[in-house]
């Protein structure tokens, strides 16, 4: 059956979860501004549209309604804490709260701050790789890519490494809730969320209290002391922000690192080039982010009617900015399906622009650069045990289930 307009060119199929790029191409070529009946949303797949919409200041990232739709219909009041928690994530906010927290993050994530984190990240990477060196093969996703961002986060929050496993579990389950499997069991997911948020409350409240009394040089201390126009963050807001950093930050970084190792291996000339010229890693990291964006869609709500390409977009409608499609648009990127570790310039849209530019972008880039460069130094002859990898069953994010590699 030929995929067509009615089924959004096949975007909801299992095949598209594994490899969405043929569908993106169809959409971009046939109907670059497409209304999906099933998603009840507009899909934008051209680079120039995605870029323009990312930089448009009048679109909302508020997700309250979407979150309500994830909860069991019968009993929403039982789950109000879930709504309260996620609406405290600054990446779902458009208001002064967003600006207040953003100012704090920008200071914690300046180029200098990130540069100063480099030695610490390098030590974490080296220790992880050292721990894998004795094995013939290992899961580069689970045992490396997924561990590093959690460890870096624990450093940033000044929390013990012993809590790595727990944080990873929380971030896995929270991202599973936010990205919703294709056919979700809403009751089970919401119940699980309630339990996780209770556990987080129990874990974080004493920490927040202690940091307020005796501040240290970490993000939690910075948040409890942050103040704009005399207003401070509540404990729940601090907790929500910690969980956001773990889930939104950690989840995407692990995807980026593992997909880079996977894709690099499919382009042997590029792998050889990067090994021969390690100084290319900074450009290469951008190419990895372009080629496989961990977050495939940016979702926005229209506040005021506007037109694009003669098509009327109405207030209240949902827009999906298809990042993965825009990054492969031949109008912007010559030979877009080719991985080119020296691509320059490379203005991909993976980390957004303007007001909602990813606040962890610099940290994510530093982790990716160090992780890949160090991995190639340590295991220059790594091989994939399986050529294809399996992706988790979601469309808005791209996350491998594993990446077995053989290193001898």
């Amino acid at each position: 059956m030929m995929a067509g307009r009615e089924d959004s060119y096949g975007i909801f199929t299992a095949a598209a979860v594994q490899d969405p790029y043929p569908v993106y191409r169809l959409l971009r070529e046939e109907e670059p501004v497409h209304w999906s009946e099933r998603a009840q949303a507009w899909y934008f797949t051209r680079y120039r549209d995605v870029f323009a919409l990312q930089t448009r200041p009048d679109l909302s990232v508020d997700r309250v309604e979407t979150l309500y739709s994830y909860l069991p219909k019968a009993d929403t009041s039982r789950f109000s804490a879930i709504i309260e928690h996620y609406t405290s994530w600054l990446l779902y906010r458009d208001d002064a709260y967003h600006d207040r927290l953003k100012a704090l993050f920008m200071r914690a994530m300046t180029p200098r701050a990130i540069d100063l984190m480099r030695p610490k990240i390098q030590r974490r990477v080296d220790a992880l790789l050292e721990g894998l060196a004795a094995r013939d093969q290992f899961d580069a996703y689970l045992d490396f890519a997924a561990r590093l961002p959690v460890q870096v986060l624990l450093d940033l929050l000044d929390l013990p490494m012993a809590d790595e496993g727990m944080f990873r579990h929380w971030s896995d389950r929270c991202s599973n809730f936010l990205f919703q499997p294709v056919n979700p069991d809403r009751d089970a997911l919401a119940e699980e969320q309630r339990q996780i948020l209770d556990a987080q409350q129990e874990y974080f409240m004493p920490v927040i209290e202690a940091r307020r009394r005796e501040p240290r040089a970490d993000m939690i201390s910075a948040m409890v002391q942050a103040e704009v126009d005399g207003e401070r963050l509540t404990d729940l807001e601090v907790l929500a922000t910690c969980n956001m950093m773990a889930t939104a930050g950690g989840g995407t970084s692990r995807s980026a690192i593992s997909m880079a190792l996977w894709r690099l291996h499919q382009f042997p000339d590029q792998l050889a080039k990067l090994k021969a010229e390690p100084g290319l890693i900074n450009l290469a990291a951008e190419e990895f982010l372009r080629y496989e964006a961990p977050t495939q869609r940016g979702i926005r709500t229209v506040r005021e009617d506007f037109e694009i390409d003669g098509i009327a977009i109405k207030a209240g409608q949902i827009l999906h900015l298809m990042i993965g499609a825009a990054n492969r648009d031949p109008e912007q990127f010559p030979e877009p399906d080719r991985l080119d570790v020296a691509r320059n310039p490379n203005r991909h849209v993976t980390l957004g622009h303007g007001v909602h530019y990813c606040l962890g972008a610099s940290l994510a880039r530093m982790e990716l650069r160090i992780a890949i460069a160090s991995f190639l130094r340590r295991f220059p002859d790594y091989r994939l045990v399986n050529e294809t990898i399996e992706f988790m069953d979601r469309t808005a994010s791209r996350r491998p289930t594993g990446l077995m590699v053989a290193v001898r």
Binding site: R112, D115, S221, Q225
Partner: protein, 336 residues
Amino acid sequence: MAYRVRIETLDREIAVEPGATILETALGAGLDYPFMCQQGQCGSCKSILLEGEVDLGHIYNPLVLTAADRARGFILACQARPQSDCVVAIAEVDGIVTHPVRDLSCIVTARDQVAPDTVLVRLDPADGAALMFSAGQYASLTFPGQPPRDYSMANRPDDRVLEFHIQRMAGGTVSAHVATALMTGDRVMLRGPFGAAYLRDEHLGPILLAAGGTGLAPLQSILLAALSLGMTQRIQVYLGARRAADLYGAARLRELAARHRNVRLVTVLSDPEAAGEGRRGYVSDAVATDFTDLSAHHAYIAGPPEHCDAVRAVCLARGLPAESCFADPFTPAPRF
């Protein structure tokens, strides 16, 4: 016709085609120019335009390249397209701030006796170029007919007019000149900035500022800069002097402490007979009494050498990591 762009920091020149950015050309030439987003969002490639003209581009984050930055000649190399031959310097390399050292001719716009032996001098760079520096740095000043001496800027880096606190030293010819002969309208040559004890604004933990005498100048600059950047962590200021009359900056600090609840001021008088408010003894004693654990702090120390040494020793004994302790050596002798 390509423009020639000289990158001082890397000691290299590149040819930038019309319409191309400095960054993409530098990367294409294999140079190790710092960058991340290439889209004006992150500030990694922030640079200073020393000569020439560029189109700044229009897609950049105004929080990363502020109006004040633009006025002071900062550009983002990933957005800047040369409109002439240019000279640029990279603003930060590996986390180290670098400002180009400049020679500026300044005019004395104010000269106030603020304490029995201390004069506050304001200098306005006369030829239009502002001094680019980081809060806490110093410059070498040459007063008319005098040898050069080092003094710290006491103002915020984005103020055009520079403020210096000059204490009369026993037998010091330069400070005697400032105390007795300097007039508004005099011309002063400035060379700078220098110094590594500048504000680390990425630090999230509490901050200790320990000033002795005119060591207040760089720490006042740091405090003003920190507050203007919205730093909300605890900032504890210790100001030491011999007598109450020597605490020339205390009123201004008290006013800041009243307006910002994260700022706390402690004054310490070393003359046991001295009248007036404040504790007695040395700043190092007060710090030793008030803190048990400084491991998460950043400490900035300025003033006479014995003050700096004593405070530093106390801080390290209270767990302050050596790399979190910032103090430029005080150099009363002329520099050659």
